[in-house]
Amino acid sequence: MKKVMTGHKAVAEAMRQIEPDVVAVYPITPQSEIAEYYAQYVADGLVRTELVPVESEHSAMSACIGAAAAGARVITATASQGLALMVEVLYIAAGLRLPIVMALANRSLSAPINIHCDHSDAYLARDSGAIQIFAESAQEAYDYMVIAQRLAEDEKVRLPVLVNLDGFTLTHSSQVVETLSDEAVKGFVGEYKAVYPLLDVDNPVTWGAFAMPDYYFELKRAQQAGMEAAPDVFLQVQEEYAKLCGRPYRGFFEAYKLDDAERAIVVMGSTAGTAKVVVDELREKGERVGLLKVWLWRPFPRKEITEALAGAKAVAIMDRAISFGNLGALYLDVVSGFAGREGPVFVNYIYGLGGRDIPVEHIAQVFEGLKRAETGELRYLGLRE
């Protein structure tokens, strides 16, 4: 059913339909409305979820870990400093292989304090062991919340999944979202099968045991296996979901007019939508330009992205966060696939920090700038010099 709704309403709707056993969440702009909508659903008796109104994000993730280890299906949401506070325990969630799904309403990190969008919060959790997916629209945020549930819970994967949606741009903007029926979502995510649930008192287990140097390394390698299994599971679940919803989700990324593109942009999140508009405009003028929009950022689909970009002459990789002291994280991800082989010229663009708007003219500048570029260049888009 098509409705006009904000991004946070779309996420809350997906959560309502999934109806997790536990939601432990602490409000923070621009995520708060997700928590508020869900609290209302609980108060109205629409869901049987145990809502845990915790005193901080550190507690939110801790409660999620406890509940997930106990055998519950768990969802949370946060943004910015909230994620920063959560990160200590997010690493534990990943290490314990707990399938906690989280909506991350992307917002910059302080200082200076700012409530608007960039991806520095997602980048902060880059190496946490959580799977990360980026949404372009409220529709994608809804869809990937449902997909994330199955991906997180797959027995080969069993990892936290972060669904990133741009703060304000997506969370607070009303868009047309087509939701599935409650039955369709419930049927898709299925009954939750807990692994070694603590509440199974007849089969006691120990969670969170100490590991000495003789086992820590092996356990971390085993955790990496969860990430290694994730791409195949992502594709399977995505394909099944695409059939269910009728929207053409396919692959780790969306290749938009990329096949014969000489110049291309690689980007994550809502900016991809604006970039498509520019690609269309330039294509009408006969320019061979294209776009690669990353859905699955972690694990990084290096091989597939390398193949998709191999035919281009110049590629701009756009990072919505600074990795201080180096080129952007997405840039390094993409370029790493071309180590030891011929490839396009790669330029890094840092853009959109702290909610700096990205009008079509700026994207057009990027395509123009690719005509004269050298690999390793770091450029700042939309910055006053």
Partner: protein, 188 residues
């Protein structure tokens, strides 16, 4: 694609009507975005809200820089803000004011179509006091949207939070706003 910018003050319901408008045009099968500009959210502070309406999927996520319609709910903003900024020459400026079209043209410097009418008075006469609803009526007229469809949506949305009498008063205010702008179309 039609882009609309609403100017109001915090608490005057600019964001609310921008969202109701989105729901109205969705009923006509349009694609739509509605979003406010987030700055200091204080009652009385100048606020802007936006709509994008199109027949095809809307993918752009940037701000609106060249609106087709600008709606000024609070005329005191005419002096403090550049309300006609970026407004397309063939666009429409709709202002809630008791002043004449000529006077508005002088204040804003806008050379295109101007619709000036007293939405505050309409709202007072209808008994609601909120000029945002007659302004919504004017926008619906300028867009060429079926007013019946708009009224159905408005009625349904307002019924969630208002009594039937107050809903009826708002519908009256909506119709008066629609009538005030009827005959002027955006881009036409």
């Amino acid at each position: 694609m039609v882009e609309i910018r609403w100017h109001g003050r915090g608490g005057q319901g600019a964001k609310t009507v921008s969202q109701i408008l989105a729901q109205i045009v969705l009923r006509e099968g349009k694609h739509v975005q509605a979003f406010p500009e987030y700055g200091p959210e204080r009652s009385g502070a100048p606020v802007r809200a936006y709509d994008r309406i199109a027949d095809e999927e809307i993918r752009i996520h940037s701000g609106v820089y060249h609106p087709d319609i600008v709606v000024v709910i609070d005329e005191t903003l005419l002096e403090s803000e550049n309300t006609a900024e970026g407004l397309k020459p063939n666009g429409v400026l709709i202002v809630n004011t008791a002043r004449s079209e000529d006077e508005i043209r002088k204040v804003t410097g806008f050379s295109g179509k101007i619709i000036a009418f007293d939405a505050t008075k309409i709202a007072q006469e209808a008994g609601t006091g909120f000029p945002n609803v007659p302004m919504l009526g004017a926008v619906v007229a300028v867009l060429g949207t079926d007013p019946k469809v708009a009224e159905e949506e408005l009625k349904e949305t307002l019924s969630h939070r208002l009594t039937p009498e107050v809903v009826e008063k708002n519908l009256k205010a909506f119709r008066a706003g629609y009538e005030a702008a009827k005959g002027v179309y955006v881009g036409g």
